[in-house]
């Protein structure tokens, strides 16, 4: 009942992200054959400076003969990072920061529900939200494939979705953990947003020059590498890191929230 109620209160933004991004992907996939015929994408990529392509992690050598190749340098690049940050901030704000700040969480805290149950329920909502996000994204591309014969490699498509899902989960739990440090939702929003923006900038800078390559080691976002998945390079280390971070951040959230004084 707790999970159902929490989902009901949060379904608008969850469906907003899932349906919005899926519709974008579907339409991009729908117009892909006509764009491909014109050869505009290759021409555009060739005209861009190498540094810019590196910043946005676009592999210019990749032939744009497949919708996934296009998406790996379009949607599954900076667009997905920004969406993931907004998604994580929304999740932490709606499920923890704002309910604590406004006192709405008392509806649940007055019931025979432990804080552990509340966190588990929040994470189930995150799991459902992420599942809908990447699931609908994947399904919309599969539907476009059926309708427009795009020759999508489903194993690569779902590997991208799985990597994206893990990234969304890690960012969501990280934002939740940071939100549990504060009673003031604005402060929590600013600090989490600041941290994510820092990682995002680090990720962009690491593409600027070889001397900044080391920076990729300190950013969450380097763990979602769509071009590497497209090239079918070894991605296992990224997944292990993401699972590790997910475990550590979840444990920190549990420890912090179950010991926190709630002045509501």
């Amino acid at each position: 009942m707790l999970i159902r109620s929490m989902f009901k209160q949060n379904r608008s933004w969850i469906l907003g992200y899932s349906i919005g991004t899926s519709v974008y992907l579907f339409f991009l996939a729908a117009i892909f054959p006509s764009i491909q015929e014109t050869g505009l994408i290759e021409a555009k990529l060739e005209s861009l400076p190498k540094e810019l392509l590196d910043v946005f992690q676009i592999d210019a050598t990749m032939a744009m003969d497949n919708i996934l190749n296009l998406l790996s340098s379009n949607y599954y690049g900076l667009i997905f990072y920004v969406l993931a940050v907004l998604f994580a901030l929304t999740f932490a704000s709606k499920l923890l920061a704002k309910p604590v700040d406004s006192g709405e969480i008392m509806l649940y805290m007055a019931a025979p529900i432990s804080r552990v149950t509340y966190i588990i329920s929040s994470f189930v909502i995150l799991l459902v939200a992420v599942g809908l996000f990447v699931g609908l994204n994947g399904l919309s591309l599969m539907m476009a494939d059926l309708l427009f014969d795009l020759q999508i490699d489903y194993s690569v498509l779902w590997m991208l979705q799985l990597n994206g899902a893990l990234m969304l989960l890690v960012l969501g739990v990280a934002a939740y953990m940071t939100a549990s440090l504060f009673d003031d939702s604005n402060k929590s929003y600013m600090v989490t947003g600041g941290i994510f923006t820092f990682f995002l900038i680090v990720n962009i800078i690491n593409g600027v020059s070889e001397q900044f390559k080391w920076m990729s080691n300190i950013s969450f976002f380097s763990l979602f590498d769509a071009p590497a998945i497209m090239r079918e390079e070894f991605w296992g280390v990224h997944f292990i890191w993401l699972f590790g971070l997910l475990f550590i951040l979840s444990a920190c959230s549990f420890i912090r929230f179950t010991r926190k004084d709630l002045t509501i």
Binding site: L2, Q9, S114
Partner: protein, 290 residues
């Protein structure tokens, strides 16, 4: 039922609650009085497992409020001081959710919805303070539990609803429920509470049975005489006169008997007692403590 033993929570050197102890037994309404920021809500938050004490402990039905908060909340109905339900939910949805999150009683729910009726289809964000308060009263008492914790329960209610709530509280007390109630509204405290404590700057400065407090309290009487000469004559004995009206302060029951005997020699139009005896007493303590 409710047991608080030397509870201390320090937010800093001067803010918090210090060495707070009190007990609320079944069939008792315990009044918790104090100015804003005195520590009433902090004490109540400990009972609801929201704050971890630095020292001392709080327990309900033998369960520690911090360690066994789930068990505590199974036997407690809570009415918060600030009603903050999710803005997009309707009253009916909140009641429906409460029915599922708590173990509630259908007959009590029907009874409460009759007594504190309001438009349940209204969304919380469109509700007036009184409507929210009625919704909170219904969701609190829908649970048939042995303990209720009420933070400013009559806040925002119109006089008719205040009266209904007081009647409801007296019925609950008679059925053996233990009720801890914080309030600034002294008349309702006088009518409902069996015992009361005054908290100021985080410390309890007085705790006694309401009857004892009444006996110790200063009583004021306003007497209206039929003529000014009579009022002047009466006021000569250290009473305060305002035209035909004279105010008398009584500190001991024997003084009241003497007053009645004296008044038999005068023509008086009316005799009224000050309603808020406790208020005067507590104001006296507020003053002493500052």
């Amino acid at each position: 039922m409710i047991h608080i033993q030397q509870l201390t929570k320090r937010f800093d050197a001067t803010h918090g609650i210090f060495d707070v102890s009190l007990d609320v037994s079944p069939g008792m309404i315990f009044g918790f009085i104090g100015p804003n920021g005195a520590g009433k809500s902090t004490t109540i938050r400990h009972l609801m497992g929201l704050l971890k004490p630095n020292e001392g402990n709080a327990s309900i039905n033998g369960f520690d409020c911090w360690q066994e908060t789930e068990k505590v909340k199974q036997c407690v109905g809570y009415l918060p001081g600030e009603i903050n339900y999710p803005q997009n939910m309707t009253g009916e949805e909140i009641i429906h959710l409460t029915r599922h999150l708590h173990k509630t009683d259908a007959e009590r729910e029907r009874n409460l919805r009759e007594r504190f009726s309001f438009d349940e289809a209204t969304k919380v964000r469109k509700m007036s303070k009184g409507m929210k308060q009625k919704l909170a009263i219904i969701t609190c008492f829908m649970k048939d539990v042995p303990v209720y914790i009420l933070d400013e329960p009559t806040s925002g209610l119109d006089p008719l609803m205040q009266e209904r709530l007081i009647d409801w509280l007296i019925e609950e007390k008679q059925s053996g429920k233990a009720i801890l109630m914080s309030s600034h509204h002294f008349p309702e405290m006088e009518r409902t509470c069996d015992r009361a404590a005054l908290i100021k700057d985080g410390r309890i400065i007085i705790e006694e049975d309401i009857e004892e407090l009444r006996q110790h309290s200063v009583k004021r009487y306003r007497i209206e005489f039929s003529s000014e000469p009579e009022a002047i004559r009466f006021a000569e004995d250290s009473a305060v006169r305002d035209g035909l009206q004279v105010e008398v302060v009584i500190t001991k029951p024997e003084d009241l008997n003497r007053l009645i005997r004296t008044l038999a020699n005068y023509e008086i139009r009316s005799l009224a007692s000050g309603a808020d005896e406790l208020e005067h007493l507590f104001m006296q303590y507020y003053g002493e403590a500052t």
